[in-house]
């Protein structure tokens, strides 16, 4: 039985037995390559679930809407390793109880979706540890190197050009599982702390706020980068932050549910190289 069939059966059993009230998965989209998030509430509907190499979105953002998990019932969700890391972060930051999240885990390798054994986030600990030791994406690092080689002025110009395209649609925020604030700081308007204008300065403000708030929390799912309608390479900002968290604090975001948030904890042996 292929993974799609297997997971459809698993989803049907989970729903039938009452183990979960909802399955969040992928369905067919508006073109043959597109996949879209779908929500399955009964075993009769599992035939709509699709699982293949086009299922790249990190669906964990759908776990945090207010009220979804407050009845104590469980929800099943299709997740790649990046999504499993997100669940750990959400648990570490007290946004959900990982016991209520049943994971239908998979990874995509050589154009195929393959099942990952495990049902609860903590069962994936060995997998996540191996991802940590494998290090951050070398593809991203290659792209990032190009920026690192620039002078500070050139790099500033580069980001100025990129940010000047931003329209403050906030797709990057809305799609991100880590951006769960009920009211984002840029939407706080009594008083309006951050101007809403989408001019270059305002776009700098937004993008820097976003990047810093994701430092040590981003799981590199690439959701923001793909969502950005004006193609700002947000992945490079995130990567730079992840690299800093890993190199300086040995922090690999979402490694486990008891991981302490890197920017909210202090250790005696923290390096303080940046304090003059």
């Amino acid at each position: 039985m292929g993974i799609q069939e297997q997971y459809r059966t698993d989803a049907a059993n989970l729903l039938d037995s009452g183990a979960v009230k909802l399955v969040i998965g992928y369905g067919e989209g508006s073109t043959p390559e597109r996949r879209r998030p779908i929500f399955i509430r009964s075993a009769e509907e599992v035939g709509r679930l699709v699982l293949d190499a086009n299922c790249i979105a990190n669906l964990s953002a759908y776990l945090v809407p207010e009220g979804l998990l407050s009845d104590g019932k469980s929800v099943a969700v299709f997740l790649k390793p990046d999504g499993i890391r997100s669940v750990n972060i959400l648990a570490a930051e007290a946004q959900l109880n990982p016991e209520q999240v049943v994971i239908l885990g998979f990874n995509i390798d050589a154009g195929l979706a393959n099942p990952l054994p495990g049902r609860k986030a903590n069962e994936f600990a060995p997998l996540l540890a191996s991802l940590k030791s494998a290090g951050l994406s070398t593809d991203l690092q290659r792209e990032a190197d190009r920026l690192e080689q620039m002078t500070a002025v050139e790099r500033f110009e580069y980001w100025k050009e990129q940010f000047s395209k931003c329209i403050k649609c906030y797709a990057c925020r809305q799609v991100c599982p880590m951006c769960y604030c009920r009211r984002c700081i840029v939407d706080v308007n009594q008083p309006q702390w951050v101007n809403t204008s989408s001019h270059t300065l305002g776009n700098f403000e937004w993008n820097i706020i976003r990047a810093y708030h994701l430092a040590g929390r981003c799981v590199a799912c690439g959701g923001c980068d793909r969502a950005c309608p004006v193609n700002i390479p947000l992945r490079l900002l995130n990567h730079r932050m992840s690299k800093e968290a890993l190199d300086t604090f040995d922090h690999f975001a979402g490694e486990s549910a008891d991981q302490k948030p890197v920017l909210a904890t202090f250790r005696q042996d923290d390096p303080e190289t940046f304090i003059l």
Partner: protein
Amino acid sequence: MTRILLHSRVDDCLSAWRSAGFRVLAPSKRNDLTRFDEVHAASDMALDLVLPERTIKDHFFPQTEPLLNYRIKKQAIESDEMLPPQQKRIFFGVRPCDASGLEIDDALFGWDYKDRYWFSRRENSVIITIACTRADDFCMCTSVQLSPDSTKGSDVMLHPLKDGRGWRVVTLTDRGKELAETIASMLQEDASETAPAASVPVKFDLDKVTSWLADPSNFESHLWKEVSQRCIGCGSCTFLCPTCHCFDIQDEGDTYSGIRRKNWDSCSFAMFTMHTSGHNPRNTQSTRWRQRIMHKFNYYQGKFGVNSCSGCGRCTRQCPVDMGITETLQEITNLPR
């Protein structure tokens, strides 16, 4: 008299227009983004795109626009109006849906108050549209009573020639005729055949959609929740739409001085029309999505006799979760009668 413009003469046109004081904007790709930008040569243009990612709306109704600056003094408040630059512009290579979008929005911006910012730019701009010979999976102009060669909102229409050498030139308005005169020596008489317009399948039944929306009993239909379940509430569909026009007035500055601005707003945002009291009349994503559809295909229709959608398909093409107007209107079309 049938006149054509050869591709090879575009550079000459550009110089003629520039010396006549026009700024010429055309689809181009810069910094990984396709949009209308100033061009200086034919080689700057990306005319082979089905559509640029961003619309020409940006150049008439920018994402942020200063309206006035103000200074608050002990006894008085001083302010100076800030008006847009009076620059003559030519938009070359617009698509029929984007051109139509301008005319659709004229109704809103010219309704009870004539928006000077919009109309001073409209009056200073000439729209040269190229009929589409190619469409993609998301194009749906034919579903909203437009077509790949509709002339709505255009001053000049260029129909690609079958042999690919250039375009047949059709002037549509006085402004278009005047502009064609400035390049008369670059046009030539030629009756070559034009390429067929793109074939764009009709994706939903507009009459059925509008009558369903107009029926008040459907305001609370379960359909709204079903079609919007995966909506993440970003503003990408509204901000990329050639007809969405909502804005918010913001004062940017400190207690003593600042600038009043008109900034894009989006009905997808949780903050949209939220009251000072904290009450939000549309406090769920499904009610916000309903507002978007109702506004475009019911309220706008009722007020101005036209739908606020030109079928460009961007809302679906760019949606991070593969939603969009098309799917919802298809769902409505497929409801049992």
